[in-house]
């Protein structure tokens, strides 16, 4: 049997919160890219 590995996340307190932060980041970056697409249309 292997020793249990370190499960503790380095920040945000839990892995679920980190995953949620990544999803929010994805939504924000798609929104930013959509804004970038539209920003220079005349």
């Amino acid at each position: 049997m292997l020793p249990p590995e370190s499960e503790s996340p380095p920040f945000f307190g839990s892995w679920k919160r980190i995953y949620l932060a990544v999803l929010v980041y994805l939504i924000l970056i798609i929104a930013a890219l959509a804004a970038f697409t539209a920003a220079f249309r005349l």
Partner: protein
Amino acid sequence: MRTLDWFVLAATIGFIVCYGLWKSRKTSTVSGYLLADRSLPWYAVALSIMATQASAITFISTTGQAYADGMRFIQFYFGLPIAMIIVSAFFAPRFRNANVFTAYEYLEKRFDAKTRALVSLIFLIQRGLAVGMILYAPAVVLTVILGWNDQATTLLMGAVVTLYTVMGGIRAVTWTDFQQMIIMLVGLFTAIFIAVYRLPDGIGFTDALLLASSAGKLNAVTTNFDWYDRYNLFSGLIGGTFLALAYFGCDQSQVQRYLTGKDLQQSRVSLLFNAVAKIPMQFFILLTGAMVFVFYIFTAPPVTFHSGNLKKIAGTAIERKHNDAVAVRQNAARELLAHRDAEHQAKFMAAQKSLDVVHKEATQGFNDTNYVFLTFVTQHLPAGVVGLVMAVIFGAAMSTSSGEINSLATVTMIDFYQRFVKRNESDKHYLWFSRLATVFWGIYAVASAQLARGLGSLVEAVNMLGSLFYGGLLGVFLLAFFFPRVGGTAAFVGVLAGEAAIFYTHSTGKVGFLWYNVIGCLVVVGTGLLLSIFWQSASNSRPPASDVPQQPPSPTQ
């Protein structure tokens, strides 16, 4: 290339290789050779994952794609963060806790030997076919742009890659990837800066963005749904998730990277770093292509970027038409910047369309986008920077092919040699065989690169090849992780059915290749589930021996 460029290229590649070999000098066991003794920090693993995925074609072809088709290719990566979350939450812990060297070794623990052998074989076929193309792809472009001999280029790159991969194993591969990725980022930002800096006086970055947008090059998000359209928001989010999930979750060249992390936390952080960093990195690569497009509005572009075809066109009516169309577009661009209204934007768009028609006529259907970026680099960047960008191209080709060669050798050694040929040999013997397998795959890569010469569009070929097999691989791992009642034979048949479905879909030519991963994966999971239900209800209490439902692995197995 000038003397300074040769010096920068040789010094950069020489330093990277020597650094990788120095970092791997203590490798003396199979675990050290194939998994770096699971001791690497997250940042080394993270950049290695990124470098393995970013091949030379990423820099050569993606910039050209933005030049010709705009930035919509970025949507291809929208599914990647979602996939990284799934891999981090479900795949990485299972692989690490099962204490495996390869992802396919896990399948025997969960299912049986035949499923492991089938999936390992699919991996060897798929990546074995791709590794030569990955090595050859930059050589074909360098041949046309710089007149280098493609056979000598692939031989040189293949020899260097094989040397440090054989000597240092995964440690050398990871630390060279780390250095190569840093060089890639430096080269990328230098190219963007110079493309903008070289614009005529009075034309700034926002002017360049207005022109690029007016020509349809800043189309980073497109919401029109079309099964044939490879790059839109929906294919990126759905198809891209499946493709990235298959690549990062089931492809040994990636799985092996995060198995080298010090612990599960380091592995997860390295994956999530990629989830966050990949889209911005692709954005800047594509933006470079868009800026090169603007640069060529004010600096006359060649009739075609393929210098071989250029000689045939010189002095013809097409060349004159091209020159006229370039002049009209340049005037329209200046008018647009002066007035900034819809009327002048329409005139600029019409001028761009006319030039596109002439360009199509000149190239006669030949796609010259792969030659755009290197033409810009070699003809318009200063001495030293050309060498740096060449080091980026070489580094990218080497990092991807070393990762592939290393993973092919690992699967050959762990999933076939150690499993089916010599089961109880010493660690020294397996280390020796691992090095031998690496030499074999290195020679194979160089030899198959010579065969890739006649394959036409290499980017298309590599992408298509991956999508023909990834759906099947992903499906069997989803069965393994999330459907504990499905047994080995059901999974085995499921993989065969999934592959049959993908090849049938491909033969119809009616669906974009990103969707192959979705179709293949769903067929594998559906077939596996149906068969397990059918066999259980048919035999009730006595299912076939190999299909006895197995418990999912315990967290500390």
